[in-house]
């Protein structure tokens, strides 16, 4: 197992380095200029000095290496210091990635935006799993029943209809016509007492429902086919023929084996949720990470876009790794590849 994990990690590291190069190179082609948003009264020689201090005139490779050092060493250290309230080395010597538009450290802005994204996406993800697995299990167990047919149809619609339409449809129905929920998300709202908690639930209801339906659709199909694969296996017949109660056959034998690929898929889906955040946050005007990315792209804030895109890439690589490890842990057969 140790060797298996080590091999996976060794594949992940060069992948991350190449991706960081691709992202850095693409964004380096951007016509942006760190001094573009300064007032016009700033004279050209001062602008040149600012570019010089930001390292804007260094050769490409040098800038990439410096950026990687900030990305992989300095900023993680800052985050650790902040989270655990300790100091490691001299924090003031580390150069930080500075946003061109807000002039503040990029990572601090991202940390401010994370809770909103986590709450909505995390809840949607958990609800999605809670809906998908029972639906998938029942659909497979009662294959071709009414429940299965309806489930198949609904999940086909669920993953065919894009969230930017289901989201808008939900707004049209539930906030324009019925007026039950607010149509945009108030991130400054604090939960202090019961009425404010009710408001928080109300404003989260639509984005969470829309996203969890979308997440559940693909996952329930996958659970169903995985269950069907296992239900026809010999060991199930053996379990039944030795007189086990049906519930035990289903839950202890079939479900446990069927969940192995499902758990892997769940791990692989997590970075996808963050990509989904870009769209969902735009529909419901949630002030989260996805919205930060869109506004940074529109404002040509190159460091912010580089950092966010790279964080997305790290998440993808990391969860691929986690999925591989979980799979190897749950299913000993695939460790010997």
């Amino acid at each position: 197992m140790g060797r298996y994990i080590a091999r996976r990690v060794l594949i992940a590291i060069p992948t991350l380095i190449v991706i960081s190069f691709v992202i850095f190179a693409i964004l380096d082609l951007a016509p942006g200029d760190p001094t573009a948003s300064l007032p016009l009264t700033v004279p050209p020689d001062v602008r040149e000095q600012i570019r010089e201090t930001l390292g804007f005139n260094d050769p490409f490779i040098l800038r990439w290496v410096k950026w990687m050092r900030q990305m992989f060493v300095y900023e993680p250290l800052n985050v650790i210091e902040r989270v655990f309230n300790v100091s490691i080395g001299d924090g003031s010597e580390r150069t930080r990635i500075i946003s061109w538009s807000s002039r503040g450290p990029v990572v601090d802005t991202i940390i401010e935006r994370l809770p909103q994204t986590f709450w909505v996406l995390g809840l949607a993800f958990v609800f999605g799993i809670l809906i998908a697995i029972p639906v998938g299990v029942i659909s497979a167990y009662k294959q071709y029943s009414i429940f299965d047919n309806v489930g198949t149809f609904v999940s086909m619609i669920g993953y065919s209809v894009p969230t930017f339409f289901t989201g808008l449809l939900a707004i049209v129905i539930f906030s324009v016509w019925l007026g039950w929920f607010p149509s945009f998300y108030d991130t400054t709202h604090h939960v202090t007492d019961w009425p404010s908690f009710v408001f928080q639930v109300k404003q989260m209801a639509m984005p969470v429902a829309v996203l969890s339906l979308f997440n559940a659709a693909a996952l329930s199909r996958f659970t169903r086919s995985s269950m069907l694969d296992n239900l026809s296996k010999d060991y199930v017949r053996t379990a039944r023929s030795k007189g086990l109660v049906e519930n035990r056959v289903l839950v202890i034998h079939v479900l446990r084996n069927s969940l192995i690929p499902v758990v892997t898929l769940i791990a692989l889906q997590i970075p996808g949720i963050f990509a989904g955040a870009i769209i969902t946050e735009q529909i419901f005007r949630i002030n989260g990470v996805g919205q930060l990315l869109i506004s940074a792209i529109q404002g040509a804030d190159v460091p912010m876009v580089q950092t966010l895109t790279f964080i997305f890439a790290v998440l993808i690589v990391m969860f691929n790794l986690i999925a591989d490890v979980i799979y190897g842990f749950l299913d000993p057969r695939i460790r010997y590849d």
């Binding site: 992948t15 992202i23 016509p31 086909m156 930017f164 049209v172 876009v305 895109t309 890439a313």
Partner: protein, 314 residues
């Protein structure tokens, strides 16, 4: 017609006996017979047909122009004069939805073709030539690890203006969107095709072709490629759906097509600011995107079943 209604097993056993009497059945007529049994797929084909015909021939017979601005009739709800209502500039929404559908469908088809061509080429090369396999699959994995949506947004932002200047506002954006969707959607096809090629390569007919000295290029073109055609076709059908959704998502984020050259995604983006005033404007393009994608997905499902010879004899 009499032969087609006979049970397949029966006609197969009889074809040995009276070769002259049996009606010839081609591969594609078999595929079509199996395809017709999948009700969802047939419904998908019909709905898709209606949408395609409506978008391409509708504007020829429909009286309103999609670009006529007339603010005195702005923001009207659906009526007999304007079946889908009008937008904030008084343009007819039905006419715009039909024009937008042309572009959305065109983007879906061309981007899918690009993706499938790249994917099939990479898959066949990787499967057939062991020397290339490692590198090509590592490249494929790398592409799979890229955060696609943020990168697409960034690339559009960077290159939109220069392509607009080079090819004009419409063609420039079209080429850019098609190109970037195409080069970021080939990975799954490549993996599937590679797997199929690896399985085919060790089969007797390929070994036989090799043993009589057939050139590699001819083995690939005559023996390998026709046999991977069915997974490629299924990938192509599903690729259209993915491409349409991706394009709509980009346009929905305001980074795809401009408002005077609308796609369904762009119409949705423009409509969402008037959601309180004219909510129906959001529904039309959204329903059309969804219907198209659902039909294409059902079509892909039916195609997968129809192209699988092991299911066909049932």
């Amino acid at each position: 017609m009499a032969t087609t209604q006979r049970r397949p097993t029966e006609s197969q056993s009889q074809s040995h006996l009276d070769v002259t009497g049996a009606k010839h059945r081609s591969l594609w007529s078999d595929v079509w017979r199996q395809f017709r049994r999948h009700k969802g797929a047939v419904a998908g084909l019909l709905v898709l047909g209606v949408i395609v015909v409506g978008c391409f021939f509708g504007p020829m017979v429909y009286p309103h122009d999609p670009f006529d601005i007339n603010t005195s009739i702005a923001n009207q709800p659906p009526s007999s004069e304007f079946p889908f209502g009008t937008d904030n500039l008084g343009r007819d929404v039905l006419a715009r939805v039909m024009i937008g559908g042309r572009i959305s469908l065109a983007v879906g088809l061309t981007a899918m073709s690009l993706g499938v061509i790249i994917g099939t080429t990479v898959g066949i090369l990787a499967g057939f030539f062991p020397k290339l396999d490692g590198w090509l699959m590592r490249g494929t994995d790398l592409f799979l690890a890229l955060p696609i949506l943020p990168l697409l947004l960034v690339i559009i932002m960077l290159f939109r203006d220069s392509l607009r200047n080079a090819f004009g506002p419409e063609i420039g954006v079209f080429l850019l969107v098609v190109f970037i969707i195409g080069i970021t959607s080939w990975m799954q096809t490549a993996r599937i095709v590679r797997g199929e090629v690896l399985a085919l390569k060790s089969q007797e007919f390929v070994v036989a072709a090799e043993s009589i000295g057939t050139r590699k290029r001819n083995i690939v073109m005559r023996h390998i490629f026709p046999n991977v055609l069915s997974p490629v076709m299924v990938a192509a059908a599903l690729g259209v759906a993915v491409a349409i959704i991706t394009e709509s998502a980009l346009s929905f984020l305001g980074l795809g097509f401009p408002s005077d050259f609308p796609t369904w995604g762009r119409l949705l983006f423009d409509a969402k600011d008037f959601i309180n005033l004219t909510p129906m404007r959001v529904i039309w393009p959204g329903v059309l995107i969804s219907l198209t994608v659902i039909s294409v997905n059902f079509l892909g499902d039916g195609l997968r079943d129809a192209l699988d010879p092991t299911l066909r004899s049932k």
